[in-house]
Symmetry: C2
Subunit: 200 residues, 2 copies
């Protein structure tokens, strides 16, 4: 079976949200699975000396405009959460904890988090909100809240974030196909082409 | 006659080079002209607090790889000049001086500069090199060299750079279609679509 592709993203990334709506469909066309890998982009920014797009002069204005324009192009709803960016520690921890138990549920939770954040414009920061999003997926609320406070779960997210950065992920989304990295939701057509052709 | 589209770029930008090979063809399909507008990206970086991509941890490695990969996708030759980035003051001044006299020759010079820089990997920094590239286009060498030292020509480039930044150009290429901004050579398909549809 061919290698899964890796989809690195931050839950507080509009372009990560956009990519999340297409990445599995693109992979499936080529018989591939996708490993979803949330990480904390803020940690990468310490390495790259960047700060969030919307806080940058000129670039912030452009990207606020482009988030919505890109969402229209993707045909998905879009609202910028307030505050934005938001701290995505809780949903990221919840994702990995759940992924070890039920990968499909973890992906369903990730979709619910992204939809709440950018489909509905709600910052997904609190453990309580994550638990509320996880409940309809069949995740026990008390169990999830306990996991979010577990040092091992916290450490897991740190390790995943370090691994993402070691892999070169400096932005969101960052997709790796057979070792080939692609940055940005506007590169998904290239990901599709790379999967189809094996490179160019 | 419909409004020309504006193509802002820095001569030391690989993605600007890539866009330069396609932008006129895309515009022509829709009956549009292109105004080529070199500016000094370093001045924009002062506003956006950025530095050249290749000097940035993680991002530098990715983009070095992506420059060449994108060039293969565009089907154009690519060599990174040494040094890179290079100071593109002389070719930019020459462009505007020539554009006031003969816009077609100015565009031909811009193509020659980009080809030398990224097709052949030669930094186009010195006035002498610019004059050598301009000569086959029919530009008098002594006249060009004198122009490059003219305070009015220097001021013109400063004004064009300020105007580009005021328009929002924080990167290269930066294309404006009927007021709509697009950043990056990987957005030319969107430029094409915007020209075809008037927006989405």
């Amino acid at each position: 079976m061919p290698e899964a592709i890796d989809f690195y993203f931050d839950f507080s990334s509009p372009y990560g949200y956009l990519a999340s709506t297409r990445i599995d469909g693109i992979a499936a066309k080529h018989g591939r699975q996708v490993r979803w890998r949330p990480f904390l982009l803020g940690a990468a920014f310490k390495t790259t000396e960047q700060k969030p797009l919307v806080e940058q002069p000129l670039r912030g204005d452009y990207h606020r405009h482009d988030f919505a324009r890109s969402a229209r192009l993707f045909g998905v709803p879009f609202r910028l959460p307030d505050p934005f960016p938001f701290a995505a520690v809780a949903p990221s921890r919840a994702f990995y904890w759940l992924a070890d138990r039920d990968p499909e549920k973890a992906k369903a939770l990730a979709r619910a988090v992204f939809h709440a954040a950018f489909g509905e414009g709600r910052a997904v920061t609190s453990a309580e909100f994550v638990a509320a999003l996880a409940e309809p997926i069949g995740v026990d609320r008390a169990e999830l809240l306990a996991a979010l406070a577990d040092p091992a779960v916290k450490q897991r997210l740190r390790a995943e974030t370090d691994a993402a950065i070691a892999r070169g992920a400096f932005g969101s989304p960052f997709v790796v196909v057979d070792g080939e990295p692609f940055w940005g939701s506007d590169r998904l057509d290239q990901v599709d082409r790379w999967l189809a052709t094996g490179g160019w």
